[in-house]
Symmetry: C2
Subunit: 809 residues, 2 copies
């Protein structure tokens, strides 16, 4: 653009940009700001070809201006470095409620019109762009799944940086620019996610460029980080392990020079770090660059409205002034504001961005809106997977052998890890619990990711490890989401109680998936988010009450049926089958709950596969009813410990009351219980009635809070006869069996439940009830004396099955 | 202890302690360590008066040794400064799973035997202390509600520092020592809670002394902060605004000197800061001191077991070696380990701590185990409260006036704040949303707490403000919990969707309350934790799908019925009544869901009080059934928006089908729906049947996920006829009425539901259904054209009631 030699001019003026370059960036920024204001305010007259009248303005004004100009500024500068350095970059908008910024930019760069042809690059398209924003039937006010180039909603704050790192892992050529608002920076999840740099390997991973955007204010308050003394803030960023560069001010041309210089320096640093590591090997954790951008909130907007400060203040957070339809002064203010960007210099008469500005955007897939990493399904490759049957536990007959379910699954995961090592598209995540959750076989083929110092006695720590452990469920979840959304696969194991820490993150991911699946055909399916919840409520007897909470399932089932799945495999082979299924699935959130302790195994591999395929089944090998005619009682169970207690109760009942006809039903896929109208896995009513009968008592032993089973089955014919035992919030440090006794889920209570509910047993009730009472007293005395469970409980084994388990299914 | 002049000796040796003082502290520390190991391992032979045999050892070994010696070390040094400076101090054990440490120390100082006389200060008591730990019928392995001196469980990590600050607010004489494990330090909530110092006023608040305990390892990994280069860690702490002092090493006597010097310096600093502020006024935020203690994990325990590194490594995290009953070498190792503390020097032959060591503990209420702040109910004073009726909205007849419910409640809260300003025992908490949630009247009497720089245009920021705002729900919740647990009152307002961020913190507080109420008579009742959830699912039309989630209620009702309450006041006067009730209640978690938008008001104050007292009621003024005979349909509603839609539907039905007998039921107290066996507020079945009939269709419009109503009512007689509308996870940026339409909760769908379910209306179905279809089509067209709701919806008003609302109840 400058006829003279730009390099020379830059050298002479000691500037990052020539005057013409700075002007160009500023014009592009003005265009983005203009389009942002237009989206918030206008229905029509997008180019201001005629004077504004109230009818041009939306009746309801919804949007967030405050963060928007700062994000436009950042985006413009990222475009510059992408263009001149040919970078592969995506953009994460932490303050995602600044939707107008990203929408403006992806429209300017041309991506938006490619994804949504109706929003074309002309006046009509600009009018639609404005009209649709935050308008019924239009697009959300936030950076949402509908927004090309985004993997991050930004409505619930805290996760931008962990998403960014998740995207960068195993993408060595990718740079993820992550804008962190000073509001978001106050959240816990964001505060700890700065430490993600301890897990980023400059050889095999890409880079994250954090841009902490201090615009000073939240909704109504200054932001904490924005008011820190400079030295404290600098110390904080250095303490997090970054080298911060400060870009501070409000004069646009001056700020363009500073920002361009800072960007260039950061990208030089990134290149230097990566080259050094990739040529010389990883020696120590690098100090990565980052930018602190301090710019006014609502920058370039009205300084005052009705005599009150707006620019550089919280009043610009949302819509700076709202009486535009009714107050002519406000209408004039809006028109003056929009004309201050001089749209006639930015757009052609037909409404397209002028060519010399368009040239400042990157091209094709280099445009951040069109980078395939932000539509990860495009890049997704299936996992290479061994046949999970090869890891089967040999189960000659039900209850004949013990195994630790998660350890068996760990062997399978190890081989998945090994098979996909070259593809570099699978990682395992967890808060310091991979070994504790008995997935330690993984360490035969990989290590824990660790970029800091390693001692010679340390255990499987390495920069190229693929097990990601940090004691922050938030960070694990954020990394995993970022990894999945950019087209890879993962697995998250966690203590069951503490997965509640990410309840709200789960919500947001479930909402993202729902919208993508139902409404956005161009979003390609991504790998499911797989949780393995172990160290569960029934075996936290050593950690006590604070570690006992099975409520995540309840939380999960509130979300849309077509994105959530819940599995309760009762043993190792069913866990294998379920794990295989989950790793192959797409666009779901799969919750698997399984134990890690040595437990009796019930199903051989073929039976397990059949059982998991149905999701629910009658265990005839355990039942004493005949094929013709209904049983006296249905004993249903879901979860490993409830299954154990149910079978032990069946054992007692069959001994005490040999002619009792018991049907044992086991549920792996909890969603089979719901009606098919509610969940695609729901059993048809007729099938449900066949299994549970229409009139016999059902004693249901459930892993979690019992009322969930009622909530799932209240429309079923025989719901009236359903009696559920589960966790009723009783617990402490005790023995494993005492935990079930405290919650009436133990074999003895189940026996009593059966006797109480089968009418013809009433005459036998007395002696069986006496037996139950005696056993519970004996239990109490024994644990208080010996500190461990009754030998007859500890040593109990199912011995009734002589035939192999496959026969029964 | 030293015959010579200790001051002189200290000066001459340039040490904080004389040799004798260091020896004394070390002996006390050995005693605490000895008792800790004993708790983890022994059933009997507590003084090792005879050689250990397997029978002396517990059959199941449960406990966490790793953190314990470090915490013992800290506790001993805190005792020293309390004693020599006469400090008022409580102790927060972030690594609360190190239960043996606190139990050992409160026993040594004599508190434990006062609270639990059976655990006396002699051999028998010591045996009980050992036996009961992590033993069935005994005490939890964590620092739990059962532990005197604790307000913090430490099982779920992340909240120690926010609890500590919550305790320090408005307690100017209190110093809260907060031990933060390096595992906990990785969590999000902890990472941001360091910034709590920006909200601590040295004049009116106490002090927090953070002690970051780097013992290097978590369960299986090094800790991130423990492996940072020294300079980074120091920058991090300085960046958080603290002045760190490092105490690092492993030689006990050397470490005692360093720790005593660091403690003295920190306490001098605290005193200096407080004196300067209290004499000269608050000028700027002080830089508070903190300690970084780097000591080996499992310090003083076995260095190796079976040739594997244990001390200073993750293998010492729990029980360092476990085969003590079966492996004679392990048994010997245990005996050697315990004898290495030389118990015979520490305890009298009868098992009491020797007098010269006992003298090192503080006395009476100065003992951290007996500090009344750690049993806050002891200090709790009732709030002074204006009669909430004085803030009533005048409602001449139902639907005659509009009001913003939370704004009205805000006026009440303002006066509560004012009345209790002198007592300094009430604060309001929220993530930057107090004004947005329309509680702004509070700012007439107080400000937002803010210790950093204040600009002249800032809005109600001051060091002595009593509204606590930080954009971290975790920190708000942690502060509030700490404030309540130390005997004060509080109120937390939050966007409904984002309260899920603290789901797991809610869990832990509910568990704490449950245990206190049911099992620990010496724990005195504390003020309830009150949530006001507003900006709720139905009025997040501008922020869109990410902000729409009413599931916190579902989460809450999983906890014990005797600690949780859920209220859905339909208008301002009911919100006033409920708020008053919640502020007066004790030991509950109260969840109030209420809107902030201008809405029609239904009940005058007296009606509102009566309605809230019952928790549920028939609104006869809206009903068209007669007192004798059952209605054709029951239209039930819970929540402000469902109430509006129900009444609008009733209005339509009464116009279209004048002879239809409709009964309108409104539910304020959701727990009335449950059977009384499940919740103390549950209606008796007969009363429930009277209200809901036993055979008429019930159309229930509910604020949240509809299945919750089924889960609460599935045992009720007429459950079969219950049809619930609620949020079914559909939403985006749209209009308020479109939100209810998308979820079938709108007046038109409710009308259709009624017509479909009342048998005698079938012949009228066609024209009413046509009306519904027409209206929904008109709605869709109108919002897409105009961007706002149909005028007949926006302008709808209830005009049927001529009599005052009180008559109808």
């Amino acid at each position: 653009m400058n006829a003279e030699d730009p390099t020379k001019e830059r050298e002479e003026t000691k500037s990052a940009l020539t005057a013409a370059e700075a002007d160009g960036l500023n014009a592009y920024w003005r265009a983005a700001n203009y389009l942002s204001v237009g989206q918030i305010y206008l229905l029509a007259n997008p180019l201001l070809l005629e004077p504004l009248v109230p009818e041009h303005v939306k009746p309801r004004l919804l949007g967030h201006w405050g963060t928007t100009p700062g994000q436009n500024f950042i985006y413009v500068h990222l475009n510059r470095v992408i263009r001149i350095r040919d970078l592969n970059m995506i953009y994460i908008s932490g303050p995602g409620h600044g939707g107008p910024a990203v929408l403006a930019n992806v429209w300017l760069e041309g991506t938006y019109s490619e994804y949504y042809p109706a929003v074309s690059e002309n006046e009509a398209g600009m009018k639609t762009l404005f009209h649709q924003f935050s308008f019924p039937g239009g697009v959300p006010s936030h950076v949402a799944p509908e927004t090309p180039g985004s993997i991050h909603e930004g409505g619930e704050l805290g996760y931008s940086l962990s998403h960014a790192y998740g995207a960068a892992f195993d993408n060595p050529d990718l740079i993820v620019a992550a804008v962190i608002g000073d509001g978001e920076a106050e959240t816990g999840p964001l505060s700890t996610s700065w430490h993600s740099n301890k897990f980023l390997n400059p050889c095999r991973d890409g880079a994250v460029l954090p841009i902490l955007h201090l615009n000073g204010y939240k909704i109504a308050n200054p932001a904490v980080l924005a008011r820190l003394p400079h030295e404290e803030l600098e110390n904080l960023m250095k303490g997090y392990g970054y080298s911060p560069r400060f870009v501070e001010g409000s004069d646009p041309l001056d700020m363009h020079q500073k920002m361009a210089a800072a960007m260039d320096a950061c990208l030089d640093d990134i290149k230097g770090i990566q080259q050094a590591a990739r040529n010389g090997g990883v020696r120590e954790r690098p100090v990565w660059p980052m930018i602190v951008l301090r710019s006014p909130k609502g920058w370039s907007g009205p300084k005052e409205v009705d005599g009150k400060k707006v620019e550089d203040f919280w009043r610009s957070h949302q819509v700076p002034f709202a009486e535009v339809r009714t107050n002519p002064a406000h209408l004039q203010l809006l028109e003056d504001w929009m004309r201050s960007y001089r749209p006639e210099e930015l757009f052609t008469p037909s409404g397209a961005l002028r060519a010399e500005l368009k040239a400042l955007a990157p091209k094709g897939k280099r445009r951040m809106g069109d980078n395939p990493h932000a539509n990860g399904g495009l890049l997704l490759r299936d996992l290479m997977m061994h046949d999970f049957r090869d890891f089967a536990v040999m189960v000659p007959s039900p209850g004949a052998v013990e195994a630790e379910a998660t350890r068996v699954a760990g062997a399978f995961l190890r081989d998945v890890m090994k098979e996909n090592m070259a593809a570099a598209n699978f990682r395992v995540f967890g808060p310091d619990e991979t070994a504790s959750n008995r997935l330690g076989f993984l360490f035969e083929v990989t290590d824990r990711t660790w970029m800091d110092e390693v001692m010679d006695y340390d255990d499987h720590l390495a920069p190229d490890g693929r097990v990601m452990e940090i004691l922050s469920e938030h960070t694990c979840q954020g990394w995993l989401e970022g990894y999945l959304l950019t087209g890879r696969h993962g697995f998250f194991s966690c203590y069951e109680a503490f997965i509640h820490i990410v309840d709200s993150m789960f919500n947001q991911h479930a909402k993202w998936l729902k919208v993508c699946k139902q409404e956005i055909p161009w979003r390609r399916p991504i790998a499911s988010l797989n949780y393995l919840l172990t160290s569960h409520v029934w075996r936290q007897d050593h950690n006590g009450f604070s570690h006992q909470d099975p409520g995540f399932i309840d939380h999960v089932v509130n979300k849309k049926a077509d994105v959530i799945r819940v599995y309760l495999p009762p043993d190792a082979n069913t866990l294998l089958s379920v794990t295989d299924h989950c790793l192959r699935s797409r666009d779901y959130i799969n919750v698997i709950v399984a134990g890690k302790q040595p437990s009796w195994q019930w199903l051989d591999m073929e039976s397990a596969v059949r059982h998991c395929t149905c999701g629910i089944g009658i265990w005839e090998w355990a039942s004493s009813d005949t094929l013709d005619g209904d049983p006296d009682v249905v004993m249903a169970c879901a979860g490993d410990v409830p299954t154990l207690e149910t079978l032990a109760a069946v054992d007692i009942l069959r001994e005490k009351i040999p002619d009792l006809k018991i049907r044992v039903v086991n549920i792996v896929d909890l969603m089979t219980l719901q009606p098919p109208e509610e969940h695609p896995h729901g059993l048809k009513d007729r099938d449900f009635d066949d299994i549970f009968t229409i009139d016999r008592p059902i004693i249901f032993a459930y892993h979690g809070y019992p009322w969930l089973i009622h909530r799932l089955t209240y429309r079923r014919t025989n719901h009236y006869n359903l009696h559920v035992r589960g966790y009723k919030e009783e617990g402490t440090t005790s023995t494993p069996f005492d935990m079930v006794v405290r919650n009436d889920l133990d074999r003895f209570h189940l026996v009593a439940d059966v006797v109480e509910r089968v009418p013809r047993l009433r005459q036998k009730a007395a002696y069986v009830k006496q037996y139950v009472r005696d056993m519970l007293i004996a239990h109490n005395e024994y644990i208080r004396t010996h500190g461990e469970d009754l030998p007859e409980v500890r040593n109990w084994q199912w011995t009734r099955t002589l035939k192999p388990s496959t026969d029964g299914l």
